[in-house]
């Protein structure tokens, strides 16, 4: 393509000429991009929550969705390459690139198999979720059915976590075995439209197989950390490296240590940004399912007030959730290390989809 790209004023990354925010740092561009997509309607003020939905262009949903999918694939590829590179790097330090890569792949296979086949049930038990039954959670089950119809997906299993915080997550390696879980706080505080928005968001994660991506990313990052750990302790490599002709000299050893320290760090950043892209994606697709971006926006607003704590919250599963249970909302969540985009930014984008507020996105 020979179109002139746009350069991000914040980080200098190249972007598509029609982009309204930077692919890399999420900085918004001073442009009319989103207002054009949203039909530039008048009469809407920021903070207005009336369901004004006429004229939401389908195109903006699909565009946002395909862009997010593209970016996520790229990041996923980068994560996988860095995983292989670390394996090779550590292997070469101790004399054999092949062994390093092979070991990295074997570890990956073991962890991936565990995550793939046991991942959902592990996550469920960590957060103390129990299955929602028909009589006590009638509305919840109905809303999940509605969203499964809207998305054309099989009905997922529905779980409830005992907690006053407002949060939800989806898991499952494929749509056939998917599940969604919500907190009791969410059920108490959100109205039907908001609940629909949240469930739509979770169904979007299921439809785009984010739940699988998340598990894979967690596994990849986990195994890099494991590999680096083994390197630092020198368990399986040390003997071989020295027998191979004294290649474990000070310089390569230093390089290896550097790699081992930086690897988990870099992997972590990548995992986070995969997750952030996918939250925007799920917001966009969820809004496409409900045709009501404002329901989701108002759910996010309530979470900002009530908090998002869940039982058993931890760093290993934080990226699965609707909003990150571990982060405080005052934090600048656009920072490189966050799993979720800032709630404020998510609300603004959703409102822009409904043609309300400025084209801040």
């Amino acid at each position: 393509m020979v179109v002139a790209g746009k350069t991000c004023p914040g980080c200098g990354a190249g972007n598509h000429p029609d982009a309204v925010f930077c692919n890399l740092c999420q900085e918004s561009f001073p442009s009319d991009g989103m207002s054009r997509l949203a039909g530039n309607r008048t009469g809407g003020a920021p903070g207005q929550t009336a369901p004004l939905l006429r004229g939401v262009p389908m195109l903006s949903f699909y565009e946002a969705a395909s862009r997010n999918v593209r970016m996520s694939r790229l990041l996923f590829l980068a994560l996988f390459s860095s995983f292989l590179a670390v394996g090779a790097g550590i292997g070469s330090t101790f004399g054999s690139v092949g062994y390093g890569v092979a070991l990295a792949l074997i570890l990956y296979a073991i962890l991936a198999a565990t995550a793939y086949f046991r991942g959902s049930s592990i996550v469920l038990s960590i957060h103390g979720a129990r299955e929602a039954d028909r009589s006590t959670h009638q509305t919840l089950r109905n809303v999940v059915e509605e969203m499964s119809i809207a998305s054309g997906l099989p009905l997922p299993r529905v779980f409830v976590m005992e907690s006053p915080g407002i949060n939800a997550f989806a898991a499952g390696r494929n749509p056939e075995e998917a599940l969604v879980a919500v907190t009791t706080g969410l059920l108490d505080r959100l109205n039907r439209e908001e609940l629909q928005g949240v469930i739509g968001h979770e169904m979007a994660h299921i439809r785009s197989r984010d739940t699988l991506y998340y598990i894979c990313a967690a596994v990849l990052v986990g195994s890099i950390a494991l590999l680096a750990d083994m390197f630092l302790r020198g368990a399986p490599f040390r003997g071989r490296g020295q027998a191979g002709g004294g290649r474990g000299n000070a310089a390569t050893f230093g390089l290896g240590i550097l790699l081992a320290i930086l690897a988990p760090f870099a992997a972590r950043i990548l995992q986070m940004s995969i997750s952030r892209q996918r939250e925007y994606h799920a917001d966009a697709v969820g809004a496409q399912l409900t045709r009501n971006p404002l329901g989701l926006a108002s759910a996010l607003e309530k979470i900002a007030q009530a908090g998002a704590r869940v039982p058993g919250e931890n760093r290993g599963t934080q990226h699965l959730f609707f909003v990150n249970p571990l982060r405080h909302f005052a934090d600048d969540a656009s920072a490189l290390f966050s799993t979720h985009p800032s709630t404020d930014l998510r609300i603004k984008r959703l409102k822009a989809m409904a043609g309300i507020g400025e084209a801040v996105v």
């Binding site: 009638q138 509305t139 109905n142 969203m147 119809i149 809207a150 998305s151 054309g152 039907r192 629909q196």
Partner: protein, 182 residues
């Protein structure tokens, strides 16, 4: 170099099979989506008598509303043809909305567990109907996109994959604002 045409032929056949199968899958998807709408409409027909049964004792002065719902239900069930049925369904939706509006006026009705549960079921079913229609239209769009774009339009025209029709909403239901029943 006899194998070059052979590879080309295999590639062509492969492309043909894949594209044909995608078209079949998309056609089945939108057809199935259409039947899902019927499933939800049927569920609504089944729920309405239950609701009427529960509320009728409380609503001695609102017989007119109830009669309208029952008549609209009968008309929708017996309507023939897509156009007539669409109209009848819209009338039924409207009559149910006015029934719900009336229920709001009776505190003891609102407090009744059965009524609340039935109302939730009917609201959900209404939503499911519209989401099923939405999914049908989404499926039609995907399918139409595929049979109109190059190169899959070649296979579509050879094997007679015809354009699918969108489900259109009547003007009257477009004008009605959504009622929040919570």
């Amino acid at each position: 170099m006899a194998w070059i045409p052979a590879i080309l032929a295999v590639g062509l056949v492969g492309w043909f099979v894949l594209t044909y199968n995608v078209l079949v899958r998309l056609r089945n998807q939108f057809r199935n989506a259409w039947h899902q709408i019927d499933v939800q409409l049927k569920r609504r027909y089944d729920l309405i008598p239950n609701l009427v049964e529960v509320v009728k004792d409380y609503m001695a002065y609102e017989q007119e509303t109830l009669t309208r719902v029952i008549e609209a239900r009968g008309a929708a069930i017996s309507a023939k043809g897509a156009g007539a049925q669409g109209k009848a369904e819209n009338v039924l939706t409207e009559s149910l909305k006015s029934l719900f509006a009336v229920v709001e006026k009776y505190p003891e009705l609102k407090a009744n567990q059965n009524v609340a549960a039935l109302q939730e079921e009917l609201t959900a079913t209404e939503n499911k109907i519209s989401f099923a229609r939405q999914f049908y239209n989404d499926s039609v769009m995907t399918y139409n996109n595929r049979i109109q774009s190059i190169p899959s339009n070649i296979i579509a025209s050879v094997f007679d994959f015809s354009q699918a029709e969108y489900f259109e909403v009547g003007e009257e239901s477009r004008a009605v604002p959504r009622a929040d029943l919570r």
